[in-house]
């Protein structure tokens, strides 16, 4: 749990840097989603991880100005926190990447359903392209951050 709290300010600062300075054609990497997924993975207590996700989501919606519905981030982060913690019982070094990448897909999909609901019903291709673009940008940034902070080892040994 201390591991979860320790990295929270870093995640907030990184999110602010990415949202203010490192946007790509208007798209941004969702660092808070990455944070919830990565730091829920070693948590054995699923209830706690779900609650953490919910609270981080509330913080994101109210303090970090998410720009969409208040409650959407807490919904996404609760679900991702729940499932990311569930896999802690089946955790192995070799499938670490596949786990977090799958959860990023899931999280961005739920976000996109709120953000691009209009496209989902009217232009499904545009919905898919937005979903994949945001997902892969977030994954790309995720790979860099995991290597930079050696998160893989830290999370597996937490």
């Amino acid at each position: 749990m201390s591991f979860y709290i320790k990295y929270f300010p870093i995640a907030v600062v990184l999110q602010l840097i990415f949202s203010e300075l490192l946007t790509f054609n208007g798209y941004q990497a969702n660092i808070m989603l990455l944070y919830v997924i990565l730091f829920s993975m070693p948590l054995g207590n699923t209830s706690q991880s779900t609650l953490n996700g919910f609270l981080v989501g509330l913080f994101t919606d109210f303090v970090l100005f998410s720009g969409i519905y208040v409650g959407a981030s807490s919904l996404v982060f609760s679900i991702c926190g729940f499932w990311a913690s569930k896999i802690s019982f089946n955790f192995a070094f070799r499938n670490f990447d596949i786990y977090w990448i799958s959860f990023v897909h899931l999280g961005v999909l739920i976000y996109s359903l709120f953000r691009y609901d209009f496209f989902f019903f009217n232009d499904f291709f545009l919905f898919l392209s937005n979903w994949f673009f945001v997902t892969y940008f977030t994954c790309f940034v995720g790979f860099i951050l995991i290597s930079l902070f050696s998160l893989k080892d830290k999370i597996l040994n937490a």
Binding site: L16, E20, L21, G26, F65, G71
Partner: protein, 264 residues
């Protein structure tokens, strides 16, 4: 151990998840309530200091580039202004001659972008002007190049701007010079689609798109973009036009909020 405790112990994780999802849905479905709006605006007001260092850094990093762009823009506008001044004198003379009503001047206030939001592909942003500066809900917001959105929420010292790139944003526009009117919506990147245009209308690629006279919140003739493609739907009597926005939504830093129009 009581039966309830036993159930809670066995299904603790699922109960917690259901509780969190329920609370999230309650929040989502109450987004339009005043209490949620006020809480959001107050928290943004309180925590807007978080964005200041990043805004400052952003401004410093791109200052030279901005200066360069502004200088060239300034030169272009000065030259254009000379030509327009001649036309203005002529226009005023004709309007007086035809006894037309005098046009109204547009008053605006400059604002800095505090935050572009943390959600991928911006749909709204936060500016450092609020009730104290005379900002109210639904005022139009422009960049130096054209319309970019409208005010959706206002606090004492900051406001939320709904951008054209929000999928729920619609704008009544007209295509010059024939003033064909239609409804504009964003479709991705810097492109928008204008629908409900009459098939018989005369539109060409490169025509300028302006706000129409039908909009409740936007005064007419504000620049929005230019036509880049035209296609006709076989199953409809309407035309659909794709337009490119004049403003680059990914590099917004300084904006202008149009206040109420003032009479000449």
């Amino acid at each position: 151990m009581s039966r309830v405790q036993l159930i809670f112990q066995n299904y603790q994780e699922k109960i917690t998840l259901s509780f969190c999802l329920l609370l999230s849905f309650i929040l989502i479905f109450n987004n339009d309530s005043d209490s949620i709006k006020n809480a959001k605006i107050n928290s943004l007001d309180t925590f807007s200091f978080l964005y200041q260092p990043f805004n400052w850094l952003d401004n410093q990093l791109f200052l030279n580039k901005k200066l360069e762009v502004l200088s060239s823009e300034n030169l272009r506008l000065s030259l254009e202004n000379q030509v327009l001044k001649v036309h203005e004198t002529e226009n005023i003379r004709y309007r007086e001659f035809l006894n037309f009503k005098k046009r109204e001047n547009i008053d605006f206030i400059g604002a800095d972008v505090i935050s572009k939001g943390i959600i991928a592909n911006m749909s709204s942003l936060l500016i450092n002007r609020g009730l104290d500066d005379g900002i109210v809900k639904n005022l139009p917001v422009l960049s130096s190049k054209g319309v970019i959105g409208k005010i959706t929420a206002v606090s004492k010292s900051s406001s939320e701007v709904q951008l054209i790139s929000d999928v729920n944003f619609r704008l009544s526009v007209k295509i010059a010079p024939d003033e064909v009117e239609g409804i504009m919506r964003w479709i991705g990147g810097d492109l928008c689609e204008i629908a409900e245009l009459k098939k018989i209308s005369d539109i060409e690629i490169g025509d300028i798109v302006l706000t129409s006279n039908l909009s409740i919140y936007f005064p007419p003739n504000l620049p929005v973009g230019e036509v880049v493609s035209i296609f006709e739907k076989s199953d409809s009597s309407n035309r659909v036009v794709t337009m490119k926005l004049f403003s680059d939504l990914s590099t917004l830093n300084q904006l202008f909020v149009l206040l109420d129009e003032v009479e000449n």
